[in-house]
């Protein structure tokens, strides 16, 4: 596929809001996972999460609108504003009928939804806020961003569990290749630190239970791992053709040059034991980008921190990269701030773009005793200097959804 430029970044995460603060914290490897105190989580087996702090300091969303939207839309609005400003986009000069929004999340606005459903059962129909109708559903952030900026072009919301926002960015790139939009605001948002959302994640059996040590609990590829910690946040990027970015004098961070998606089709929660379909997604992505395995310098990993997730991901990479596997450097920076579920891919893309820009691989933290079956170079615990020209981002959703994006350094 033709290259699509990433020309603006907006991040709202437990490791900081805005790219500079975020990158400084990611590079340092300082964990942002904490005990959940927003509600009483004492009866949950997993009671830790990455929380976004200081959102209000970055927000110019009116208090009137805040009553009508869920936290996931609020974070999307803040991240979108950061990305638009970072890209230097002057929307007054754009054809807004050619401006698209491609966003992904896995669970929708459950903080709002849960509260109103509780009121429905306690108070009856009239206890439910009319704002519920437009606050909870997964496409709400797309709608809010559209309303805020008057964007009226071809747009989509993608729901594909933890691959949602990576797919949103991939399909945004495909849409720009098809010349359906001039530019796209793409990414994802998630607000899962709520009683019901946490419960759903917990019952899937994918969350860590190392509650007494939040900062070291999320430990992908370590033999003592027992799942991931959830996190909230949003990642938004501005995407356009490199030619268009050059015409308006915008800095291009990196280009999306290919992607691949497959599904395992074996279980509603677990990925397939063999990793064959993830390997096929990697191969499709490389073919789509016109690259060979030996062209890849870095892989931003899914890092589920479940036994089957870690081992099958490693197995898939080994099968595609063969002898080059030992030259590769990989990492799961989300071990620092938690897994943002449907928003994780967008934040992974932003992390990888910043890694390329800074010639630095962010670490996988809490990796002290690697699982013998996980034998890649995971950049354990400390960031490493490394020039990255081509990189992959891997995201996997429950039930074996695989998405792989290929990024190339600009210039």
């Amino acid at each position: 596929m033709n290259k699509i430029a990433i020309s603006g970044l907006g991040v709202v995460s437990p490791s900081g809001i805005d790219k500079r603060k975020f990158w400084a914290n990611i590079k340092s490897g300082q964990s942002a996972v904490e005990k959940i105190e927003r509600f009483d989580a004492s009866r949950y087996t997993s009671r830790i999460a990455g929380h976004v702090r200081e959102l209000d300091a970055y927000s110019n969303v009116s208090s009137r609108l805040l009553k009508k939207i869920d936290l996931f839309s609020h974070m999307a609005l803040v991240a979108s504003e950061l990305a638009i400003n970072d890209a230097g986009l002057d929307l007054s000069k754009e054809n807004l009928e050619r401006a698209g929004i491609f966003m992904g999340n896995a669970i929708g606005g459950w903080l709002y939804g849960e509260t109103e459903l509780r009121d429905l059962y306690i108070e009856g129909r009239e206890g439910v806020s009319p704002f519920m109708a437009s606050a909870w559903f997964p496409a709400a952030p797309q709608g809010q961003v559209s309303i805020r900026y008057g964007l009226k072009g071809y747009s989509k919301t993608i729901v594909a569990d933890r691959a949602s926002s990576l797919m949103a960015i991939a399909y945004a790139a495909r849409n720009l290749n098809r010349d359906k939009n001039d530019f796209i605001i793409a990414g994802g948002m998630e607000a899962p630190v709520t009683p019901y959302a946490l419960l759903c994640c917990q019952t899937s059996g994918v969350l860590t239970q190392q509650n007494d040590t939040p900062q070291t609990a999320y430990r992908p590829y370590d033999k003592n791992r027992d799942g991931f910690a959830i996190a909230e946040g949003a990642g938004i990027v501005i995407m356009e053709s490199p030619e268009r970015a050059a015409q308006r004098g915008a800095e291009v961070y990196a280009n999306v040059i290919g992607f691949g998606t497959t599904t395992d089709g074996v279980d509603r929660i677990e990925p397939a034991e063999d990793g064959v379909q993830l390997a096929r997604a990697i191969t499709i992505a490389l073919d789509n980008a016109g690259l060979k395995p030996t062209d890849i310098d870095y892989i931003c990993l899914d890092g589920a921190a479940t036994r089957i997730g870690d081992i099958t991901e490693t197995r898939a990479i080994r099968s595609v990269f063969n002898g080059h596997s030992d030259q590769l450097i990989c990492s799961a920076p989300k071990s620092i701030y938690g897994n943002l579920l449907g928003a994780t891919g967008a934040v992974d893309v932003i992390t990888t773009v910043l890694a390329m820009q800074n010639d630095t691989v962010p670490p996988t933290i809490n990796l002290n005793e690697p699982d013998p079956e996980c034998d890649l170079n995971y950049c354990a615990n400390t960031a490493q200097s490394r020039e990255i020209n081509n990189a992959l981002v891997i995201n996997r959703g429950r039930g074996g959804i695989n998405c792989v994006l290929v990024l190339q350094k600009a210039g």
């Binding site: 009116s62 208090s63 009137r64 009553k67 009508k68 009239e126 009319p130 704002f131 109708a133």
Partner: protein
């Protein structure tokens, strides 16, 4: 609370408008960009105050603040 004060309170709670910011004699859709869900929220709040339900015809974007106060009075709000 008289109907005017009650409605000002609802406008403040739902629309974040201070009493002095409320335009009394212009359609509320034009003056304050009130949307349909906000009208429902105001209506539910008034029902809690007065015990009667305002119909869709009673609470429209084309009504002014003063129109709604009059409707409340005709329904017996004091």
């Amino acid at each position: 609370m008289n109907p005017e004060e009650a409605l000002k309170t609802k406008f403040n709670e739902v629309l974040d408008l201070k009493p002095e910011e409320i335009v009394l004699d212009q359609p509320i859709g034009e003056a304050h960009d009130v949307d349909s869900t906000e009208l429902v929220e105001i209506s539910v709040g008034l029902k809690k105050d007065y015990g009667f339900q305002l119909s869709d015809n009673d609470l429209k974007k084309t009504h002014t603040f003063n129109d709604i106060v009059e409707i409340l009075k005709t329904k017996g709000a004091t």
